[in-house]
């Protein structure tokens, strides 16, 4: 039995390992996100809300303007399951249509914020100089304005139209994105791999699009997913204050506003739109938090 110990220790454990599949940042993040039950539930609710917004015309039993002969404040019945509002309109249908503006404001505002904030932040962070200075001073002033005040002032100047609600919120929100991208670029510019690319003769355009921007996508995506509920909230508060999209288009905020006067006689009219906003906000926050933890594993262990 002259088996040398060396022979035994080399008994193939390394070879038996399955071929390690290369996993990128994104598939890794997706795996972590799928394990987060709150985020998965939030995503499911968001998909349902989007479907509700798109197909409101098919789902809603009535139009959001039709007034019923029973008059205002009908009690819930089989025909009108949530009753009627202060003008005798079907509350359920108005709730379903209300999803439209909330989903639209979230998406449209963030599209504008990305289209404006990312390029400006990228240029300021990459080039520096007077442009950077100008951007920073401008965002300083916007930051000094309490956001809601700024949006309301903008909206007053623009006029009361649905599109202007989106535009006003976007104008108040893009500086945050620009500052985020700028800060990312400033720190990435110092990294060795960027230095190496520059030494290898990469053009500024190539540096930005192939090195700086791809490495900033994680924080940008997190900012977008957390920016969506912020925009939805701002729209809801505007509508609640009676400053949102003009009637008769229903928004959950305006539904709460309209039901406020009858809060003691028909409290349910306040409860349903309030629940709708809260559930929507919760879902987006769960997904946003989940994404942040998934894309930045260090923050997950810390928080």
């Amino acid at each position: 039995m002259a088996v040398s110990p060396v022979e035994v220790t080399f008994e193939a454990p390394i070879l038996e390992l399955p071929a390690a599949r290369p996993r990128g940042l994104w598939s890794d993040a997706l795996r972590r996100l799928r394990r987060n039950r709150a985020a998965v539930a939030g995503a499911a609710i968001i998909l349902a809300l989007i479907a509700m917004a798109i197909f409101a015309g098919q789902i809603a039993p009535h139009s959001y303007t039709e007034q019923f002969v029973g008059g205002p404040f009908e009690k819930p019945s089989s025909a009108l399951p949530f009753g009627t509002d202060n003008l005798g309109r079907d509350q359920l249908s108005r709730l379903i249509y209300g999803a439209r503006i909330s989903m639209a404001v979230g998406v449209i505002v963030q599209v504008i914020v990305v289209l404006v904030g990312v390029p400006l932040g990228a240029i300021a962070g990459y080039a520096g100089g007077w442009l950077d200075n100008l951007l920073m001073r401008f965002t300083d002033v916007v930051y000094a304005f309490p956001e809601l005040l700024f949006v309301i002032l903008l909206l007053a100047a623009l006029g009361r139209r649905e599109e202007y609600v989106f535009l006003a919120i976007a104008i108040a929100s893009w500086p945050t994105m620009a500052r985020l991208v700028r800060a990312q670029f400033l720190s990435l510019k110092q990294k060795e791999f960027v230095e190496a690319a520059r030494v290898a003769g990469a053009s500024p355009w190539r540096l930005i699009t192939r090195h700086l921007l791809p490495n900033s996508t994680g924080p940008i995506i997190v900012a977008v997913t957390l920016g969506i509920p912020a925009a939805i909230l701002t729209e809801a508060v505007l509508a609640f204050l009676g400053l949102g999209a003009p009637p008769p288009l229903p928004s959950w905020g305006s539904l709460v506003h309209d039901a406020l006067d009858s809060i003691f006689t028909v409290p349910l009219l306040v409860v349903f739109p309030g629940l709708a906003i809260s559930i929507t906000m919760l879902s987006f926050v769960f997904v946003g938090d989940g994404l942040r933890d998934a894309l930045d594993p260090r923050s997950a262990t810390r928080l």
Binding site: D140, L148, A156, I277, L282
Partner: protein, 304 residues
């Protein structure tokens, strides 16, 4: 420290100047004027009113005139309340709004801090999950929904508390809670993550190893150091309280200054609008300044 304070205080001046400028520009871009009525006034009457309130001057001159007067403590007359000056209107409601904000902040601290500490000390237990759920809840549910729901529950169903006014302490409870819940959630989240960081530090282990009593470790070694980062979010919290206050004041019919802002936009009451915006912006800026200062006082490692 003194030089830092002076520098930061001086930096408020250009910020407030540009806030005033932006408000002025937006205000004058807004269609319609302060004299629009259902029954239009005669051109002569409008001309007289414009002359009386200096609205016939070129815009640049109007702005400079406003700044000059404001610097001398004169914030002008209110168009909608001809018998009162803007300063009087704001002075009459500011105390109540400050009270509301103060109570809301106290509520936020009293709820948020223990929740965050508990979550960190019982990390990954049901107590942790529950307090973090409360935190996400407070962070997601808009304050006007909290306010209306609290009216439904405590006033419409249980008949426990009044739903409006500001006369007795019982009327203060619901508004302060509705306004303070959001900041409470933010404070709880920050306290938790900051505590989790601190309880892994070497000096905490050292304190335990040398036999310091558990309560003392938590209080003196963990909490004291964990609270530092929490102070920084008090700045944004004040900004939140500011914008939240005019929503909450409207719902609970509180005679504070919140109504002024929305009303003055709708009625184009330019002087009242300017003064409201400047007041809110100044409140937020001063809160941030105080936060930076207290951060330096609390943490001796920070030097200015």
């Amino acid at each position: 420290m003194g030089a830092f304070l002076v520098r930061r205080a001086l930096a408020l001046i250009p910020v407030l100047f540009f806030v005033a400028l932006m408000t002025f520009v937006l205000m004058h871009l807004t269609p319609g004027g302060p004299w629009d009525r259902e029954k239009p006034l005669s051109p002569q009457a409008i001309e007289n009113l414009n002359a009386k309130y200096h609205l016939d001057l070129p815009p640049a001159q109007q702005f400079l005139l406003y700044l000059w007067n404001a610097l001398h403590g004169d914030f002008g007359p209110s168009y909608t309340h001809p018998d009162r000056t803007v300063a009087e209107i704001i002075a009459s409601g500011a105390g109540i709004t400050l009270q509301l904000g103060f109570f809301a902040l106290i509520f936020a601290l009293v709820l948020g801090l223990p929740l965050g500490v508990l979550a960190a000390l019982r990390h990954n237990t049901p107590a942790d999950y529950l307090s973090m759920f409360v935190a996400v809840f407070g962070y997601s549910v808009p304050n006007f929904v909290l306010a209306t729901f609290s009216i439904v529950i405590f006033a419409a169903v249980l008949h426990l508390l009044p739903t409006g006014g500001w006369e007795s302490w019982r009327a203060w409870i619901l508004p302060a809670m509705a306004l303070g819940f959001g900041p409470a959630a933010a404070i709880a989240r920050y306290t938790r993550s900051s505590m989790l960081e601190v309880i892994r530090q070497d000096y905490v282990r050292t304190a335990r190893a040398k036999g310091v009593r558990e309560l003392l470790v938590v209080r003196r070694h963990e909490l004291k150091n964990a609270l530092l980062p929490v102070v920084t979010i008090l700045g944004p919290a004040v900004a939140y309280l500011v914008t939240g206050s005019f929503v909450v004041e409207q719902i609970f019919h509180i005679p504070g200054i919140g109504r002024n802002f929305v009303d003055s936009i709708l009625s184009r009451d330019y002087p009242l609008l300017m003064a409201s915006v400047l007041l809110y912006a100044a409140a937020v800026a001063v809160a941030n300044l105080l936060v930076d200062l207290s951060y330096g006082l609390l943490d001796p490692r920070i030097r200015y």
